[in-house]
């Protein structure tokens, strides 16, 4: 079978697959990051690293968020009737909108940079508002994003089950599923215990961040199913779409585990610093999902036969010889 690269022949700049754009951007971002990281280790100059994350990193995240949201909306608008992936893509678009809003707060408005408008408008913004903006950003791009995404992916999985293409879990997957469930229960128990014992005033944005790991556990379950579905399907555009989402969720879990190891001194801070770059790949993986979906539609249309029509329209069947 021909690979996707062979299948998608690029004839002009406007025909460049979105997935390729995302991959190139991520590769550039990580490559520059590796160079900066090596310079930081060899020279000890922290300002270079800080500028890389505060400026280039922020722009990268926000640009990819905007691109992801746009691609999701394009993918969603392709569907016009019920019984399709329409509702799934609508919810995924909402989730990506939430991620963009959160990242704007986290990576732009609460960072002390010259590209932050608050830096010019409000002298003491950093001491008074930055912390809360960061927490709100984490809540919106964290649990809220995860919740909506989990529902969207669930709708997608439901559709694949309906058309008998949902992957089957293997016995080894049950270990991961069991682990994710146990972790979710542990998180719920910890939150309840902390909330009951701590006599401090509880802020709304803190409460919003509590279910972070619970939703992550749910997403992990979905990611395992998505990955199985993608592997069982083979290397098509749609398999890659759902595979990209699964990889993004696995990377989120990886970072979560690394954070836990750091907190409990199983990992040193320099070792953990490698995880900073995982976020760039994570953001790219989320962008690749809708990118492959939109590329699939573009590819289908570019193959010469494109006839928009209602469900079960006579267009295609008419092309056959009549009996």
């Amino acid at each position: 079978m021909k690979s996707l690269r062979d299948g998608m022949q690029v004839r002009s700049l406007s025909e460049i697959p979105y997935s390729r754009v995302v991959l190139v951007l991520a590769a550039l971002q990580v490559s520059v990051g590796i160079v900066v990281h090596i310079l930081w280790i060899s020279t000890g100059n922290l300002s270079l690293l800080r500028n890389y994350f505060d400026y280039q990193g922020s722009i990268y995240f926000i640009f990819l968020d905007v691109l992801t949201l746009w691609l999701c909306i394009v993918a969603w608008r392709q569907f016009r009737q019920q019984g399709s992936l329409r509702s799934a893509w609508f919810l995924i678009s909402l989730a990506m909108g939430s991620k963009l809003a959160g990242d704007l707060l986290k990576h732009w408005l609460c960072v002390d940079t010259y590209i932050n408008p608050l830096h010019y408008a409000w002298v003491n913004w950093h001491s008074s508002a930055a912390g809360r903006l960061n927490v709100w950003g984490s809540a919106i791009a964290g649990p809220l994003f995860m919740l909506i995404l989990a529902i969207g992916l669930f709708k997608g999985l439901q559709h694949y089950k309906k058309i008998h293409m949902l992957g089957k879990l293997r016995s080894s997957d049950l270990i991961w599923v069991g682990g994710a469930c146990l972790y979710a229960l542990y998180v719920v128990a910890t939150v309840i215990r902390v909330a009951a014992s701590e006599p401090f005033i509880i802020h709304a944005e803190w409460v919003l961040t509590w279910p972070n790991d619970l939703f992550l556990a749910i997403l992990l379950l979905e990611a395992i199913l998505l990955m199985r579905t993608a592997v069982d399907m083979g290397k098509g555009y749609l398999a890659r779409t759902w595979g990209a989402f699964a990889i993004a969720i696995f990377l989120t879990s990886l970072e979560s585990v690394a954070k836990w190891m750091l907190d409990y001194n199983y990992m040193s801070r320099p070792e953990y610093s490698i995880m900073w770059y995982v976020w760039f790949i994570w953001a790219a993986a989320f962008a690749l999902g809708p990118a492959y979906q939109v590329d699939a539609v573009r590819h289908a249309r570019s193959r010469g036969m494109s006839a928009s029509g209602p469900f079960s329209n006579p267009t295609a069947a008419h092309a056959l010889p009549r009996s």
Partner: protein, 188 residues
Amino acid sequence: MQSPSKKGPLRFVNRLRTHPVNADLIAYRDGELASRTRAAVKRHLERCERCRKELVLIEEDLLHFGQLANRIEPDSDTLMNKGMFDLQQAMERHDAKLDQAPSTSLAITPAAEVLASVRKELAIYLGARAAEQFLAEAQSRSFVAQDLVSLVEPLMVGLLGNQGGSAVAGRVALLCKSASMPAHHTVT
């Protein structure tokens, strides 16, 4: 029968002592053949007027479909209905043209070749195993070409959306038609 790119150019060249089937011509037109196979088809086209005419017909078909699709606005029912009407008219004209010129249509290709082409087409979007599974299920029931398109269309519309799904279904319809698969040709 497998696609020429998988069978290797030598066997394909032997086949070209007769004529390439339309699925091969479409693959040639789309630049999907391996370089040596492509060269073999090119050489054949240089000396075979019948195949050149067939290629021109295919080009006209694809161009026409492409133009119609560009005229259809995704959110405009009026334009869509007009586009549908135009498309239907064009298909009828095309059918009539083919009926009048039977000499340009090539030999009937075995249904297995059509299935291989359809499998290859679906694999681009679904993945090879999913395409295989879908067609195996379809094959398990005895079906005719029209059934194949009517099975592919809702599946792909559900997965890719209206435009993408219809485009893939149209492509499958063309592959069936290009192989001159009779509407009641049973594939078991």
